[in-house]
Symmetry: D2
Subunit: 394 residues, 4 copies
Amino acid sequence: MAKHLKQYGWEYVVVDIQWSEPDAKTHEYSPFTELCMDEYSRLIPAENRFPSSAGGKGFAPLAEYVHSLGLKFGIHIMRGIPRQAVHRNTPILGSEHTAREVAKTHSICYWNTDMYGVDPEKEGAREYYDSIFKLYAEWGVDFIKCDDIARELPHEESELILLSEALHNCGREMILSLSPGPALLEKAELYKQTSNMWRITDDFWDDWKLLYNMFERCEKWAGHCGAGHWPDADMLPVGAIRQDYSEDNRTAFTYDEEKTMMTLWGIFRSPLMIGAEMTKLDEQTLGLLTNADIIAMNKNARHSHQVWRRNIDGVEVILWVAVCSKGGWYAAVFNAGEKDVDTEIALTDLEIYEPVSAHELWSGETSADRESLSVKIPSHGAAAFLLRAAGRRD
Amino acid sequence: MAKHLKQYGWEYVVVDIQWSEPDAKTHEYSPFTELCMDEYSRLIPAENRFPSSAGGKGFAPLAEYVHSLGLKFGIHIMRGIPRQAVHRNTPILGSEHTAREVAKTHSICYWNTDMYGVDPEKEGAREYYDSIFKLYAEWGVDFIKCDDIARELPHEESELILLSEALHNCGREMILSLSPGPALLEKAELYKQTSNMWRITDDFWDDWKLLYNMFERCEKWAGHCGAGHWPDADMLPVGAIRQDYSEDNRTAFTYDEEKTMMTLWGIFRSPLMIGAEMTKLDEQTLGLLTNADIIAMNKNARHSHQVWRRNIDGVEVILWVAVCSKGGWYAAVFNAGEKDVDTEIALTDLEIYEPVSAHELWSGETSADRESLSVKIPSHGAAAFLLRAAGRRD
Amino acid sequence: MAKHLKQYGWEYVVVDIQWSEPDAKTHEYSPFTELCMDEYSRLIPAENRFPSSAGGKGFAPLAEYVHSLGLKFGIHIMRGIPRQAVHRNTPILGSEHTAREVAKTHSICYWNTDMYGVDPEKEGAREYYDSIFKLYAEWGVDFIKCDDIARELPHEESELILLSEALHNCGREMILSLSPGPALLEKAELYKQTSNMWRITDDFWDDWKLLYNMFERCEKWAGHCGAGHWPDADMLPVGAIRQDYSEDNRTAFTYDEEKTMMTLWGIFRSPLMIGAEMTKLDEQTLGLLTNADIIAMNKNARHSHQVWRRNIDGVEVILWVAVCSKGGWYAAVFNAGEKDVDTEIALTDLEIYEPVSAHELWSGETSADRESLSVKIPSHGAAAFLLRAAGRRD
Amino acid sequence: MAKHLKQYGWEYVVVDIQWSEPDAKTHEYSPFTELCMDEYSRLIPAENRFPSSAGGKGFAPLAEYVHSLGLKFGIHIMRGIPRQAVHRNTPILGSEHTAREVAKTHSICYWNTDMYGVDPEKEGAREYYDSIFKLYAEWGVDFIKCDDIARELPHEESELILLSEALHNCGREMILSLSPGPALLEKAELYKQTSNMWRITDDFWDDWKLLYNMFERCEKWAGHCGAGHWPDADMLPVGAIRQDYSEDNRTAFTYDEEKTMMTLWGIFRSPLMIGAEMTKLDEQTLGLLTNADIIAMNKNARHSHQVWRRNIDGVEVILWVAVCSKGGWYAAVFNAGEKDVDTEIALTDLEIYEPVSAHELWSGETSADRESLSVKIPSHGAAAFLLRAAGRRD
């Protein structure tokens, strides 16, 4: 990560779910499993799996190491308080109230049995959330992926607000990311005010149907990107990863589909998270992740939105546009159909009424004085352009 | 009970919820409270509250005493297995599997935190249910009120079937009653096949709105009464009981409303359960519960159904009919309006095309050779008639 | 009809839709077609198709002839006023207002273009409905099948009430039948108060799926039969009739399905209407329609309702019961499954706790001293029993 | 119009509904009224109301006059074919089929009785639509406001497509505007492909609730503006117009509300249509309509979208942004609350990370080197800014 990716802007390393479970073995959850916990009802890393945490040091040594590489460190958490703390009725730091007293009686996660929700109405609730973020701050955490919360609105809205306040008052700046999606569009302002990013989809995997579906999600969330808040299209399942855990542990996406994904995430400005076995990145995958033009688009695009979605010669073609903050525009063209397409897209569709130079971000080719975009895109593929007014020099 | 009520047919004495909770004090549940449990994950009576259960005898001594009075004994249970058993991972009698292994991960009761649902797909699930009914059979239980199940269909349908099978295989005959309602009309056949009675309403209390609402519930369930299976309109909150627990602990129902309730439960053939402080039954209340004619109607009515529901002189009047298995018909007339009504109801509305004698069950008055029913009923009151063909002598 | 059926209770002959359309040729409607109309916006029979109506006599001669045979005469009408009257702005008898003024602007039938609805709020509306029923009374009509109304509630509720009042004030007693279904269960009381019968289904044809579906409709409407008001399961498509108008114009029902239909209509007490080419009734069909026991059940059943609907040996079996007003009970057993069934049904399911004699209405066989019903029914077939207490002599 | 408004870009004069009705008197429709029609089932202007149309000249003289003023001419039409043509069965130009044959049987407008829909499946349907647009082209019409269509999707989708094709093949370029709203967001691509503008709201009037509601409509349609297709927020009810037709025929909007409306329509890029008595434009109203900066924003804004909607000191504040095609950005701030607001909005919220000059479009004031926008806005008022990078000279 530090050696190959940091220079392109990749920055955060995040420990995902179940780091406090000593017996975790597969991607499946163990119902009602025992978790490692401190005396204040706070989950801590399982020593057998994170030996550096021994002696009550938690993730501090790991965070320190990550920081030493010039990177940032994040962890996954579940909304709530451990059920085992509730049933054992353990204390809460800084409060006379106990785990049993702050648990919200019928608030559980439906896919994981670790936690009960915390009831913000109860005394001790705020102290519990203060206590966990204080601990994470001590460890040196930079990024919190909070799970079982983004799509739990409006039911768990007050718990989200309490949690967000506790995080922002903990004394260390941390990015707050909310999972899982789909987030609720009608709660967009709340996500913006409480967090930095929120998942707009359930877990995203290497499956064309999910990728196809993402166009609609991105279209409707496009107006809510920017200025520190980001609808999140989820990780990029590239390279050595596969949802079905088959022996050939290689993404089921074709290279064209991977380019479509990078292009859409790029112009939509989704946070970019690598979901891959990092030690097995092949050349092609590394190439995808280190296309500097695509990463620049992700950074410099402004006011992105879908322009149209049309049937051209029996193929569903999707056009996106964005303004480039460095001058000019980005345009992305997607072939969502089952055969190749070869067409011409008028610049007037983008409301550009002057000739442009067009730099295609995947091929690297540039053509001058264009009044339309010639696109020849294979099925499930994409093209991305940086357009500049022809007369312009900057 | 034995002294004053048994002779009228009242038969079952049932211990209601939280008998295994030592700290139970009020009608409110204590979240995540500690329960008394045997070594096989089975709840047992709290000794401090049921001293006769000391020494592992459970409810056997109490059941024996109730039987000695010529009555039958019932208990309340919650669907599922204690959460404390799951988190402690205690054994199941007759199985190598444990509480943790049979719990259904996201099946909880939303108003009480004692239990997790049991997943019938899991090995050990059947043994758990077998083990509890075996215990209840040993105690001498005659009636099981199973809670958190009737309205949990279709989600918990397979758990209901498993539980019902275990009960019917336990070696002792027990009535199975399902709570809470409202039960689902489209599952009527399933209730009939698994149980003896099922609640068609959420908890019923001393409130006219709830009573008024019961007419519609009874109308739609009327076709499903009889032959050992009974839609259940819930307890009769009469005498010394009051939902608001105010100091004057006397039902908020007026006497007319109480008669309406007894008449509706009677002709609809709801199971009759007294919800009252039994040691404080006043004369009037005792009179309601020992009206032999009303109790006979509850027993002998057949094919009961609503006839019509009509506005008469600005008053909503409701007419029910049933065939009497001893000959003749029952008719009940309800004044659901806010003022008194004085009207004549033609026997042809009941499809009776001959003169009858009409015996009114509350006043005890009989009038001969009627071709219509003269009813004069106060607001919220009722009249009930046993009609017999005038010429008939039997 | 008079010769072969009248003696069994068949009574009404009804002229169906489009009798005022001179050009009617097939079962399909001609959009915006010209209709025969008198000077007061009232439709009259097309002379070319009903020559006896010549000279302004309307249906009077035909009604007179039908009456002379000892039968009764009915006609079909559509809710509303002819669109051609509205666009020509013709007068209304007894009013200074015109057709244009009483039409309800956006109330049309969605499957026929003849009429606009009449707006009860408008002056002249009552006079229009009075004028048509006055005309039908003059003709000697006994039965009105009013179309485009039964399932148009609640929108056209006030028009139904106006129309019903006009009919009941017209000076001649007429049966009012409302079409098409499905009628709305929550409006049951309104149907009862305004009409004599109302369709509980869309048009019923010779198709097992429709017949199968009728069990559920009958179950839910069962409590609303009797005392002059009848949920109507629609015509009996038997003998020479076929929905697909194929050359072999013979019902697609098997004989077993026909018996199922007659048995269900019989015990449910649906009005019985023959939907067949009357001049081509074969022996078998005539036998169906003249089974005196089935017709007696239709007349004498009381308090009919479904008892259960169960899977027996992989076959869906349905049990109905009714009290017989002459003594005893009716029971009907249906095989709704795809293979034959051979089973025993305990009388206790019918809440009969004494031995009975059982007379089967299709085979005519009687067996004595039964404590259960032995039924052996082919797929889609039915059995019907009249049960009498064994010891009884009456 | 030509004298005072043309110079600011106001261009089209449109004759609204019921121009073919001789008896039209008020804003209410006369059900089933007689309309002026030519021999080919085509509506023509009522001569008594448009004398220049005498002698079969239709709107040609009026169009010619409007053109002579350097303006463009539009008319309102209803989807479909006149009901009177259908009931009289009149011919269609260029077809052997008749009005009766092309009418769609149950397609009517629910608020106006003039027309039946045309069924694109029927022969003669295309010829009918060709014939009316041919007529309008002959008259010299530049703009068609087609009513009873925009919100009638998906039912009338094929009629919309047929109508659009006929218009685009008529030989004269005409703008196609679809009414009434609310249009369906999921049909956005279809509106774009068939028309130039479509109403996103039911009729808009001088009522704050409607204006308040428009923010949400504009937010969700923002991505679909531009390149010749425009979501339409409806007319501007300013000056001498009032929905309640009270004597004081002056808009119920306050001046602040009018500025809010002009600002929102401006940055959202809604088509601007004046809904006012044109002969009675007072100074203030004229000022609103001739604010050249606002009109320039309506023309030059690109990629407009809402940024946030937030509670600031108890006041709901709404922020919009757009890119200016001439350089810089537009920002609009709205006070949707019930009291005044005085706040500072950071440019980073607009993703502007450099100082700007800010020109406020209503006051005309410019302030230099801003890193935030100071806004002091009365209840229901607005501010609009043209922002330019401080260092920039262009």
